[in-house]
Amino acid sequence: AQTVTQSQPEMSVQEAETVTLSCTYDTSESDYYLFWYKQPPSRQMILVIRQEAYKQQNATENRFSVNFQKAAKSFSLKISDSQLGDAAMYFCARIDQGAQKLVFGQGTRLTINP
């Protein structure tokens, strides 16, 4: 099965510090997109950042950036200057070219310590 794996069920970080969430995936496709979604306690799924597989440059959105290693099939999320509002479940997801379904990882619960 072509899967997405998040090996860290839980992570915690001090407020204002930096944390990295890991994600690896398996696909036989050469063209695909990768996403990080945030799910706060409100349950709403919010897109944090996305990366096109054919782009070598890592995506960045304000305090959020990714480290995309295509050969290693790795897609980690770095959150800088962590804020209390960043506390949530974070899901890594992949969508392959021609497919219309997101394949999600198991999620990482991020706690921010004040």
Partner: protein
């Protein structure tokens, strides 16, 4: 001005009952989805519709029947509810094309007693 809305947000029912969850999007998207999030928070696609046509049916039991009366609506009807159907069901929508962002509804927490 809600983008993707679902009703109800919470649904508690007895085993064996039939229930429906409604989803509407006002984003002008042509593709809609149903995802299921289980008790361990794992999210998985159930169905995808494009312009009212079923595109993906991810080996979901026949008790689950999606219906898309128009491209802005995708409803989910569940017959003969079972305990294992308890989960959060998310509707999502996007423009056609694999790489377009999927916008999610607020989810419906279904509890089967």
């Amino acid at each position: 001005d809600t983008a993707v809305s679902q009703t109800p947000k919470y649904l508690v029912t007895q085993m064996g009952n039939d229930k429906s969850i409604k989803c509407e999007q006002n984003l002008g998207h042509d593709t809609m989805y149903w995802y299921k999030q289980d008790s361990k928070k794992f999210l998985k696609i159930m169905f995808s519709y494009n312009n009212k046509e079923l595109i993906i049916n991810e080996t979901v039991p026949n008790r689950f029947s999606p219906k898309s009366p128009d491209k802005a609506h995708l409803n989910l009807h569940i017959n003969s509810l079972e305990l294992g159907d308890s989960a959060v069901y998310f509707c999502a929508s996007s423009l056609v094309g694999s790489y377009n962002e999927q916008f999610f509804g607020p989810g419906t927490r279904l509890t089967v007693l």
